[in-house]
């Protein structure tokens, strides 16, 4: 910090130095002097509304709000004087005048900032002895309930919804003592149902439909798990009672997502208790799936697999985009070593092998890895987004992009065939014809002719002053893709995010484009689910071993052969589509599906399906499971410990929060089947498997200490070409939304309720 950017001041007699522009309240925090506050919330606009943060500043006649005053050279501040204490006491008392004091039944009781403040700064007794105004609680959406009497009007909800989410669903109505928070749509919310407003509410004024009146916070244990829905890898703190998840929230904000969570991470967990969740293994007996014991089910599988092996039948394996890294790793080992096949694949949504291959061919692998962690979007000077729709498909990335725009002056470039919501933060947005993204990228990379595009632009974010309004609408500008290109070429250190619209050679063009930009370009390939990226890294490909090494590369294969003491097949296997076709032709004797629903993507004639032996391991009776010979009830990610890799390539540890008595983890099942097939994979201990992954999978030699501390570690499985048979037609994003997420989303009551209510006309809900 250069000297002229530092400010020296004295707080409670302590001399401190902080960067110029620091708010006094943050300066106090920096030296662990607590200044109580309600309306102040870091990184949202300041309000000066609650008046809880008043402090004395020498030479100023009145008490000053520490949340709004920037530090100044030589400032002398006192936070511990009788005047300050008195001010806090009465402000706290004011807040309680119309408060119902219904803590014994309030959801927030026990973790309420007003309770805590009252205990620390308040008076023992209140002097207010007048009637209070009651207002009935209101339900604004399936997710959001509002209790006006508990509300202290800190406006955090309004700001997080507007400034943070760019949804602007909440506002302030009436004035004076009748002031109230209200949905801008009137009596209900038309919003993203993220629940951010509920989480940020310091009191129990906003409560969630998923959690309200279910339990008290101290009756739960709180486990930090990684969200099992989209690929962004948010940490969700699961509140668990009697092995059941009661709540998901993010109050400790310790994950890569900071305070962010979307509806799925916050409320989607209830699929774990869905009535249709599989409780026992099922076996097809007389044409029908009937409950059987685990021993019976597993032995049947092993017996049939052995028989098929003896007859020389072909196997196929489909892995999961949500199973943990350890499980996917062991699954491909089972396929290759035990079943002797490279017919293994997963539902691909990002063409990562092509990205890594293209990157290997460039000098991009300079000092820092050419991959970008999610958090880097918050501070990037420029971001280029091609395809995808982060707002709905990757909510954390969208939150971070908006953050960068709002707080770091990030210039966002969007190239898309639709006017996606992030255009509202876009320095340049180019809309091209559907399917023309690849051609546009080639043009930007100087490799092709012009592509017609409509351009719009938004100016830089407003300074942080109150009140914040929705940013102005993007304005159309002229110039087409040329202008976009010229503007983009001024940038350096760009982070490029691309969706499933780009695959194969388009990605090579994208990397060429990135190579032309100044500084270091970094990439994020958007992959659908919580471990889509991990599935790819762990080698759930017919031609790639873990770490993107070729099955036909004798040296690479040899390393794994030595490790496992076995011969592995050297020929590339069938991909998911080819396996479906083989099934249809009766050429695949056995298919083992782990946490996937391939028949939804590649339907097979059921009559033909019956000719092969189908084992499905899942939580629910999916379209695929319904056709199975054996169904094995698996555990959800929230019931397991291990690691996941998010769409950016960040590895994180997740911890078991809940239990499901009938089920077994994929890891346990895979190990059990291997043993029954005569191969000992050892104890199904995720730590041991992860140790092997760290030692043998390219890019995964990450720090376990870092993971154990709850941080993420970027895995960079990059060096050398990736000899991969790119199959663009297999890159198929689900295009999940905030209110859908593959199979799991279909079994979440919370998410479905939102969807159902959305079909109703405004005002018709409830």
């Amino acid at each position: 910090m250069p000297e002229n950017n530092s400010v020296h001041l004295t707080i409670d007699g302590r001399a401190i130095t902080v960067p110029a522009g620091t708010l006094l309240i943050e300066a106090c925090r920096a030296v662990n002097i607590e200044v109580p506050c309600f309306c102040y919330y870091p990184n949202l606009s300041v309000q000066a509304a609650c008046r809880m943060c008043l402090v004395e500043i020498e030479k100023m006649p009145k008490l000053q709000t520490a949340c709004t005053v920037p530090v100044a050279e030589g400032m002398v501040v006192r936070t511990d004087t009788p005047t300050v204490h008195k001010a806090r006491k009465t402000t706290n008392e004011f807040l309680l005048t119309n408060h119902p004091l219904d803590c014994p039944v309030c959801d927030k009781g026990g973790e309420c900032e007003l309770q805590d403040m009252t205990l620390t700064y308040g008076t023992g007794t209140g002097r207010f002895d007048e009637p209070k105004r009651h207002r009935d609680e209101q339900q604004w959406s399936p997710v959001v309930f509002y209790d006006r009497p508990r509300c202290i009007l800190c406006y955090r909800c309004v700001r997080v919804c507007g400034e943070g989410m760019d949804v602007w669903a909440l506002g302030v109505g009436n004035r004076a003592i009748l002031s109230t928070i209200l949905p801008n749509a009137g009596d209900h919310l038309e919003c993203e149902e993220c629940g951010m407003c509920i989480d940020i509410c310091p009191v129990g004024a906003l409560t969630s439909g998923a959690y309200r009146y279910k339990t008290r916070p101290w009756e739960m244990k709180h486990v930090g798990a990684i969200c099992t829905f989209c690929g962004d890898g948010c940490r969700t703190t699961l509140g668990v009672r009697n092995d059941r998840i009661i709540r998901g929230d993010n109050r400790d904000a310790s994950g890569i997502n900071g305070e962010f969570l979307c509806i799925k991470g916050r409320y989607g967990f209830d699929f774990t208790q869905h009535a249709e969740r599989l409780k026992t293994p099922l076996a097809r007996i007389d044409g029908e799936l009937k409950p059987v014991s685990w021993a019976q089910a597993l032995e049947t599988v092993a017996r049939r697999w052995r028989a098929i092996q003896q007859q020389g039948g072909r196997f196929g394996v489909i892995g999961s985009t949500r199973a943990l890294n350890e499980e996917s790793y062991q699954l491909q080992r089972l396929a290759r070593q035990v079943l002797g096949t490279n017919n293994i694949d997963h539902h691909r949504s990002a063409d990562l092998p092509t990205l890594y291959d293209a990157l290997a061919g460039t000098s991009a692998t300079g000092s820092a890895p050419p991959l970008a962690a999610a958090a880097s979007l918050k501070t990037a000077s420029a971001v280029l987004l091609v395809g995808g729709d982060p707002t709905y498909e990757h909510p954390l990335l969208a939150w971070n992009v908006r953050w960068g725009y709002r707080l770091s002056g990030t210039r966002l470039y969007v190239l898309h065939h639709r006017e996606i919501k992030l255009r509202r933060q876009a320095h340049r947005m180019a809309v091209v014809a559907e399917g023309a993204e690849g051609a546009a990228v080639r043009y930007l990379a100087g490799q092709g002719g012009a592509v017609a595009a409509r351009l719009s632009a938004v100016g830089p974010a407003e300074e942080k002053r109150y009140p914040q309004l929705p940013p102005p609408d993007p304005q159309p500008i002229s110039g087409g893709l040329e202008e976009f290109k010229a503007e983009l070429e001024k940038e350096s250190n760009v982070v490029i995010i691309f969706g499933s619209e780009l695959r194969g050679d388009d990605i090579r063009a994208l990397v060429a484009l990135g190579g032309r930009l100044a500084g270091q370009t970094r990439y994020i390939g958007l992959a659908d689910h919580s471990n889509s990226h991990g599935a790819a890294d762990m080698g759930l490909y017919p031609d790639l071993l873990p770490g993107y090494e070729s099955v036909s590369d004798a040296a690479a294969r040899g390393r794994f052969e030595a490790l496992w003491g076995a011969r592995l097949p050297a020929e590339a296997g069938l991909n998911q589509r080819e396996m479906a076709e083989a099934l249809d032709r009766g050429e695949l004797a056995a298919l083992y599906v782990v946490g996937a629903n391939p028949l939804r993507l590649d339907p097979v004639n059921p009559a033909n399906l019956r000719r092969s032996f189908l084992v499905v391991q899942d939580l629910f009776l999916t379209e695929t499971a319904k056709e199975a010979d054996i169904v094995l009830p698996a555990l959800a990610a929230y019931e397991k410990t291990g690691t996941l890799t998010n769409t950016c390539g960040e590895v994180q540890a997740t911890r078991r929060a809940a239990a499901w008595p009938g089920g077994k983890s994929d890891l346990e099942i895979i190990h059990a089947l291997a043993r029954l097939m005569g191969v000992d994979f050892g104890r199904p201990d995720p730590d041991r498997v992860f140790a092997e992954i760290r030692a043998h999978v390219k890019g995964y030699n990450v720090s376990v200490v870092q993971l154990a501390a709850g941080r993420s570690a970027l895995a960079v499985p990059l060096n050398g070409a990736v000899p991969h048979r790119s199959a663009p037609h297999l890159i198929r994003s689900n295009h999940d939304t905030l209110f859908s997420d593959g199979t799991l989303g279909r079994y979440s009551h919370a998410i479905n309720e939102v969807m159902e209510k959305r079909l109703l006309l405004p005002g018709q809900a409830r």
């Binding site: 300041v46 309000q47 000066a48 509304a49 609650c50 008046r51 809880m52 008043l54 006649p61 009145k62 008490l63 709004t68 008195k86 001010a87 009465t90 402000t91 004011f94 807040l95 005048t97 119309n98 002097r127 207010f128 007048e130 009637p131 202290i152 009007l153 302030v172 009436n174 004035r175 004076a176 003592i177 009748l178 002031s179 300074e463 002053r465 109150y466 009140p467 309004l469």
Partner: protein
């Protein structure tokens, strides 16, 4: 009809019905000041206003010339002149007369302000209830445009000044300058955090001068007759004359233009014709937000910023409310706090919750449900609002309450003894 003790400057055309037309205005020296200002250096205009020692007539009494000099001239942003015509302070009713009888003086003052600070656009933010004034102002503006006193190339020079009216929607708080700017921008009328002050970041974040109607209407007189002349009408530190709105228990309520430093006693006795219905008990010296003076204080004070300030009160917006000795001060306090509770914008906690608390307790207290500890609690609540709020409305609510409890505590005690209100019974039979 002018009272002989008045010195009519801003109100000099109040008796001339033609002054609200451009023709009539021009006939009585109208727009001579603008013609003069168009030939002056902007800095010289500000100097002249500084010389006049004109202080803001909106309530805070800030020196106007100084305020104008804060506008960063080099700023590339557009600059604005905003007239605060939200006049909502109980006891204040002077700006309406200017706008009704002499609208062009406001237009002229704003154009001169525009030249002085380099603004090419102005807004008059008119209190919503003053709907009838909008027509008058709009008509005057149209006439001024037609004659080149507004618009592009003022009177053929290279100065431009566009002006328009904008109505509030019935919120006292929108008279607070930053809330006014928010409202003018189309947002909720909630004050801004200061600094930055309007001079650097006002309307749409641009340098803005915001002045009261009377302040701006004084400007043409100052430019025409010289700052020195204006200064000499009043006291050195607060030059000139000022409209005083006399109301309450007096025989001749009305708006009178008096030199600063005029004795309150003469105002009440000679101009007001004496206290009506009883003896003098209290005086609100400058609008409902100012601490009350007791009879002795009131009769000894002169109406200028510093003299009133010495008694811990303010000249404020010039609203003098005379209160006779048959008035229950508890009820008076309750009535004042009712206004502020209703008008609190609700943004910040002490004002929103404190005014509510005070009104509830005062109401109960006045009805006879008081307890002895209530008096101290109310005093402490008011003290806890004072100086702790985002804008001065909190202070405006707290100050009269504090002064009433301090100066008429006995009346509160009386309510405890003879409940309900002992005075109401007594006065009813008197």
């Amino acid at each position: 009809m002018a009272h002989p003790l008045e010195i009519r400057v801003v109100s000099k055309r109040f008796d001339d019905p033609s002054a609200a037309t451009l023709k009539g205005y021009l006939a009585s020296d109208g727009y001579k000041a603008l013609e003069k200002a168009l030939k002056m250096k902007p800095e010289a205009i500000i100097e002249e206003v500084k010389t006049s020692a004109l202080r803001g007539r909106g309530g805070a009494g800030f020196p106007t010339g100084l305020k104008w000099s804060f506008i960063p001239r080099q700023s590339p942003k557009p600059k604005y002149v905003v007239c605060n015509a939200d006049e909502s302070e109980p006891g204040t009713c002077k700006d309406r007369l200017i706008m009704q009888f002499d609208p062009f003086s406001l237009l002229e003052g704003m154009a001169i302000a525009g030249i002085a600070i380099g603004a090419e656009r102005g807004f008059i933010y008119v209190r919503g209830e003053y709907r009838y004034l909008i027509d008058i102002l709009d008509r005057a503006i149209a006439e001024a445009y037609d004659a080149g006193y507004l618009g592009k190339k003022l009177r053929g020079t290279n100065f431009h000044f566009d002006l328009m009216t904008h109505t509030g929607a019935g919120a006292y708080e929108c008279g607070e300058e930053s809330a006014l700017l928010e409202s003018l921008e189309g947002k909720r009328g909630i004050p801004r955090i200061k600094p930055p002050f309007p001079a650097t970041s006002g309307l749409y974040g641009c340098p803005t001068v915001i002045n009261n109607v009377e302040t701006l209407a004084s400007v043409p007189h100052i430019i025409l007759n010289g700052g020195e002349w204006f200064l000499k009408l009043g006291l050195p530190k607060a030059g000139g004359v000022k409209l005083t709105c006399l109301s309450g228990h007096v025989h001749n309520p009305g708006v009178y233009e008096l030199p600063l430093g005029f004795p309150m006693r003469r105002l009440i006795e000679e101009i007001g014709g004496g206290v009506q219905g009883g003896a003098l008990k209290a005086v609100v010296p400058g609008g409902s937000s100012t601490p009350l003076l007791n009879a002795e204080e009131a009769l000894g004070v002169n109406l200028d910023f510093d003299s009133v300030a010495k008694l811990g009160s303010f000249l404020g917006s010039g609203g003098v409310v005379v209160v006779n000795d048959r008035t229950c001060m508890v009820k008076f306090a309750k009535r004042i706090i009712h206004f502020y509770r209703h008008e609190s914008c609700g943004w910040c906690v002490p004002c929103r919750e404190g005014t509510n608390w005070l009104e509830l307790t005062l109401t109960r207290f006045h009805l006879g449900g008081g307890r002895s500890e209530d008096i101290d609690v109310m005093f402490d609540v008011a003290q806890s609002i004072l100086g702790r709020t985002l804008c001065a409305l909190g202070d405006a609510a707290a100050m009269p309450t504090i002064s009433i409890i301090q100066k008429w505590r006995q009346e509160f005690e009386d309510h405890l003894a003879g409940r309900p209100c002992p005075y109401e019974r007594e006065f009813a039979h008197a």
